[in-house]
Amino acid sequence: MTTDRLSGAVLVVFALLVIFESRHYPLGTFRLPGPAFVPILLASLLLIFGMLLVFTSGDAPRISSIRWTEWHHAAAILAASVFAVFATERLGYRLTVLLIVGFLIKVVERRGWMQTLGLAFGLAFGSFYLFYTLLRVPLPEGPFGF
């Protein structure tokens, strides 16, 4: 199983999903296209591309050759980002940043407390000052007054 075959197959499935989901919206005609017209057109194109990819990828590398060694860190970063989505408006910007940076530098990167706290506080309060106070970009404040 090569990378191209797998990705081609995924694209085919996705295209079929889109076509299926588009059934809710009217199709219209060639003269007066409806909301589903262009999505179905594009999805059909994607379907063709996906199938071409599946059938013509002779010389693509095998799946097993892809290396995922860095996925631990990637997962941590994604988790931090997801946390930001839910926490920013509930805990406030600065607290969220503190937690995220603290987590990434202390727990994932295993650096010392000095570096961790320094960078965490620096980033959280520094960026807040720069963008909220100086540039008037609205950034949420948390329930503790900061």
């Binding site: 591309f49 990637a74 970063i77 008037r136």
Partner: protein
């Protein structure tokens, strides 16, 4: 001519007055800051500071806002080159070759060429704006939905020239981007498409979260956990400036980018975003060594950066000459003018000469200020690379989140960025290019809308695309380009058959 020079003299007198000069400077600095921040582009920057400009007099306010716009375009290239994070949607193309140059230790050269190219493009386009504003604006107004559709189709066809790797994969990615652009309210009928109950998706997935996610976030996802830190050669002081060869190579791309960007910029709508994509494609097509693109070709930085700066001035042409809100940014500028009691319209230039000429002059001044600001900053910015990566990437993450959040004050955008980051990570593992997705996402809503508007205007007849001269010309050019790109492949096939025929002929 004499009158123009006289007016320009008035304009400079206004622009160089200490007050106005101060605001131009402040605008440029703020703009650079805003541009450096990932995601927050010129529109967000201007919108955020619009209220601050209400207390100033009209000329200072406009100069401030224009300075922010310009500064953001300059600043956007910085993060693109240094960290492969697009400062705004238009800087996406700079990420590709700019970052490769950074990895080869040529970060300083890339930044310098970007700054100089932006300066040249900015200045030349301001001159063009000054001399050609009214006639150009009338021409630009003739772009209606059919012309717009033809232009965007042309932009999409350019895609074929953009990609290094497999064309099939790039086309698939572009289609994916186009499909992502379908999410949101269908403007022609009011249906909410693919939004699954999330009101925030009503306007579709924003370009900014997708660009920052696909490029910036995916980059740190890929590099953070690498056992050895990313190979970034630290440049020595001497190597900060481009070599003579690099300057020579950048000359023509800067020139072409300037012209291309300006022409695309004057067209009403958000077409100016695609100027950098088109410029990249053109440079790649015209280059004698296209395989260098994607590995750190300086033309891939010089062209797009010049194009998006001159598109900036181009965007002001319809606004200043005719009072037409030719895009979201000119619309905000028009609002700023209206708050000060100035109604922009065709008579603006005649009735408010100090505003117009002061504005023009301040753009010259702004460009100089930005060049002076950015060149020494090259040295400073490059030092950012010296920070150990384990400390750098959390900072990058924070700035990405901040930038994306700041655009709309919406955590949904941050969520989109996260999803796109994960997607970009997987795509790059599977050897897909991510730039076509962004291009597709930008083009899709505009293309679909102009397509259906055109059919609406013609009551269903497809002839409208052929009956209108501008649209017809662009479609023909597009077709020609398509044929040209397919031709080599076609030739190879014919050639093969011929050779086969010859061989079997010989065998007999």
């Amino acid at each position: 001519m004499v009158e123009t020079l006289h007016n320009l003299y008035i304009g400079f007198a206004v622009a160089l007055s200490p007050n106005v000069l101060l605001y131009a400077f402040v605008g440029c600095v703020i703009g650079t800051l805003v541009g450096v921040l990932p995601g927050v582009g010129p529109l967000a920057g201007i919108s955020l500071l619009l209220p601050a400009s209400f207390g100033l007099d009209a000329t200072s306010a406009i100069v401030l806002l224009a300075g922010i716009y310009y500064g953001a375009m300059y600043g956007g290239s910085t993060t693109s080159i240094l960290m492969r994070i697009p400062g705004e949607a238009a800087s996406v193309m700079t990420c590709i070759d700019g970052y490769e140059m950074t990895r080869k230790g040529r970060a300083g050269a890339a930044l310098a060429v970007a700054a100089v190219g932006s300066y040249v493009a900015g200045t030349v386009s301001v001159v063009a704006l000054m001399l050609l504003a009214p006639p150009l604006a009338s021409f630009a107004l003739r772009f209606g939905p059919p012309e717009y559709f033809a232009l965007l189709l042309l932009g999409l066809l350019m895609l074929a020239y953009m990609s290094g790797g497999s064309i099939l994969k790039s086309l698939a990615m572009a289609t994916l981007g186009l499909l992502l652009g379908m999410i949101g309210i269908d403007p022609m009928t009011g249906f909410f498409r693919f939004s699954y109950g999330l009101v925030e998706l009503g306007d579709g997935i924003g370009v900014v979260p997708v660009a920052v996610g696909l490029f910036g976030l995916s980059e740190i996802l890929l590099t953070a956990g690498q056992p050895t830190p990313p190979e970034v050669k630290k440049p020595r002081l001497r190597e900060l400036l481009p070599s003579r060869q690099e300057w020579r190579a950048s000359l023509w791309p800067i020139g072409r980018g300037t012209v291309l960007g300006f022409l695309i910029g004057i067209i009403p709508g958000s077409a100016h975003i695609i100027s950098s994509f088109v410029s990249y494609a053109v440079e790649r097509r015209l280059s004698k060594h296209p395989e260098r693109f994607g590995q750190g070709a300086i033309e891939g930085v010089a062209g797009p950066e010049s194009a998006n700066n001159s598109a900036t001035s181009g965007a002001f042409v319809p606004m200043l000459a005719l009072g037409v809100p030719s895009g979201p940014i000119p619309a905000v500028m028009i609002a700023a003018m209206m708050v000060h009691g100035i109604s922009p319209g065709p008579l603006l230039i005649a009735q408010q000469p100090q505003l117009f000429w002061g504005f023009i002059a301040s753009m010259y001044v702004g460009n100089v200020v930005l060049l002076i600001l950015n060149l020494p900053l090259v040295g400073i910015f490059v030092n950012v690379l010296k920070v150990p990566y384990p400390l750098l990437y959390p900072s990058i993450l924070i700035f990405c989140v901040l930038g994306v959040y700041a655009v709309n004050g919406s955590v949904v955008d941050v969520g989109i960025m996260t999803v796109m980051g994960a997607l970009g990570y997987v795509l790059r593992k599977f050897d897909f290019e991510t730039a076509p997705v962004v291009l597709g996402l930008i083009l899709a809503p505009m293309m679909e809308m102009s397509f259906r508007q055109s059919l609406s205007m013609s009551s269903g007849s497809y002839g409208i695309f052929i009956n209108r001269p501008i649209a017809l010309v662009m479609l023909v050019v597009g077709l020609a380009l398509l044929v040209l790109s397919v031709a080599p492949w076609l030739m190879k096939t014919l050639d093969w058959r011929q050779r086969f025929g010859l061989a079997s002929g010989q065998e007999k």
